[in-house]
Symmetry: C2
Subunit: 406 residues, 2 copies
Amino acid sequence: RIDGARLWDSLMELARIGATAKGGVCRLALTDLDKQGRDLVSSWARAEGMSVVVDQIGNIFMRRPGRNNALPPVMTGSHIDTQPTGGKFDGNYGVLAGIEVVRTLNQHNIQTEAPIEVAVWTNEEGSRFVPVMMGSGVFCGAFTLDHAYNATDVEGKKVRDELERIGYIGEQVCGDHPIGAYYEAHIEQGPVLENADTVIGVVPAVLGLSWYDCTVTGFESHAGPTPMEIRKDALQVSTYIMQEVVAIAHRYAPYGRGTVGQVQVMPNSRNVIPGQVKFSIDLRNVSEASLTRMHEDLLAYLEAMRKKTGLSIELERVSYFPPCPFHPDCVDKVRAASAALGYKTMDVVSGAGHDAIYAARLAPAGMIFVPCKDGVSHNEIEDARPEHLEAGCNVLLQAMLASAGV
Amino acid sequence: RIDGARLWDSLMELARIGATAKGGVCRLALTDLDKQGRDLVSSWARAEGMSVVVDQIGNIFMRRPGRNNALPPVMTGSHIDTQPTGGKFDGNYGVLAGIEVVRTLNQHNIQTEAPIEVAVWTNEEGSRFVPVMMGSGVFCGAFTLDHAYNATDVEGKKVRDELERIGYIGEQVCGDHPIGAYYEAHIEQGPVLENADTVIGVVPAVLGLSWYDCTVTGFESHAGPTPMEIRKDALQVSTYIMQEVVAIAHRYAPYGRGTVGQVQVMPNSRNVIPGQVKFSIDLRNVSEASLTRMHEDLLAYLEAMRKKTGLSIELERVSYFPPCPFHPDCVDKVRAASAALGYKTMDVVSGAGHDAIYAARLAPAGMIFVPCKDGVSHNEIEDARPEHLEAGCNVLLQAMLASAGV
Ligand SMILES: NC(=O)NCCC(=O)O
Ligand SMILES: NC(=O)NCCC(=O)O
């Protein structure tokens, strides 16, 4: 069993780097604070006798040798970059749970058959640099190293230059690195476990995701003199589409999700009928078939609205992640470990993307969820209970041992 | 009859002050450009032998004496400040039509019984300083001089200081100034005249207006992991209210207007369910009774939505102008003048507020509308036809003569 207090202390120590007034963390990818966090985590790994290797996109791999080092390592990991108003647990927990697993193995002098590795993936959040899950994405070949290197932040700074600046551009070729199995412990970022009063979420899959930008163009005119009958109000037409996004999600329950999170109204003046509205659409579901049907329903609705209103309605798909089922071996090992440890479990499909979905393209993978307070994440008030974090880390230890062999 | 070419030339000359690349005008209230515009118009008035007086809020009154100067003047006027992306005609037409009336009287040596006055009202647009129709509002006592003086722009500059800076803070006490009758010529800012192929709009009234800020507060959470059933999506609830605003306007046809022009979504991120949405509501109608019923319908709907959704929905009224019927004498004189001149007319209720609604609190008042291209105003592409502007100015001349006596 792992040491819950030691895990908690490390989480709190790492959370001091970039700590915000409201109790959260702001540690954007490839900033000086990210460097400090990386240095701290690497130093903890070295103190446990682990080797530390950095690859070309800045992913850090910290390895504890096994009895048979020809075997591919059993890996765990996550990220330590945060949202601008992020919390102490998102990502950080997965990395430090990995370090705690190694500390426990060292403390009890347990040797594994396969090596154990802990990964810190670069820029998971995608706040400063797009695309999200950059390090794991390059690692698994979802996009090229060059594409990632040339991503810029709002000031025009490039990933490549920032990696160099903070000293985390490594020599290891990305993906030149077999993996035996991959586990990731993470807070749920949703309310399911807490509402069900359950400690461990076994994650069978991650929802697939389609992101769109929708632009409705009507005609800008004065709110007073323009009769209702002849208006081409881009916002009114948009409200029906926004409601349809939610209706589509309900139609493909229970895993359908539909969200409009971002809206821009032009010219955005109190007494001007909006001439143009741009908004984001986020559709998710657990199977590719259902996500495709949601996509088709959206297209059909937009076509009907075009006919009905005569307004121009454009839709552009800006991102797509197919649904990611995790490997039955890993899912079963998480379930078995929880049962052996006596923890209450339930299946929780992940609604959010994680580095694990890229790792799953290369190796059997699985995730372990623990509850977070009120299901809140990407927020400075993000919180989690020490005993839940401890439980999740115990499950991680047992699942990794089951995969690595003792 | 007035000289249409001379009127057009003056409009084009004034439009050069603050001209924009797209053919519009940006001449915000109390800027250096506003001063240049005021100087030019005053110089034209002086050239016609008119006296020029400025009051404490910067309204300019340009007077042509009558035979009996004990009689209150028959006044016309409008404003020369513009929207940031404004046009050449909104306001400017009303002022220069007044100047053209005087030029015509001088040219034909016509003496009126009562004096003729042309007013340039300060800050009608309300773009740089709130409230709108500031000069005419102070003049008629709708709010105090002090209230207007302390209004600030986005940089914190005060009306009083800016008036002083451009040299247009006068000594005449605001409102210390009887008026016999008031006429204002203006582009319609709507499509009714153009669609009906009619030259002159006789304006029986101006719609009353209620402005509100509505704030819907839900709970911010992650678009992926949060099941549809437990969301408190502030934007979804807002879309129903936005649709109800339009439904209410249709319910109180034909003069009902309902517009949501301004929307702010928080945190406005693609994968975060909006926790809070703020938006404006603009309701208008021709009678106080119908505007009150629209207000009550809105309150009832919001109460029902509170009960149905459990979300917090706040409504704040930020402005109110009661409907303004114009004086039958003035309306009839506009109609009669148009008939005598052989122009096709129709009644067009003004959907937009004008300085005339404040003048109407002090004296019989009326307005003359002419078509504008596609009904577009508050836009650099605002346009109007010389022959329509000429026709409106002829009607203004005849209506003023009828009120002033020859
Ligand atoms: N974990 C997480 O927030 N990933 C970002 C992409 C998503 O919205 O799922
Ligand atoms: N004429 C004009 O645009 N007035 C502004 C106030 C309104 O929206 O009616």
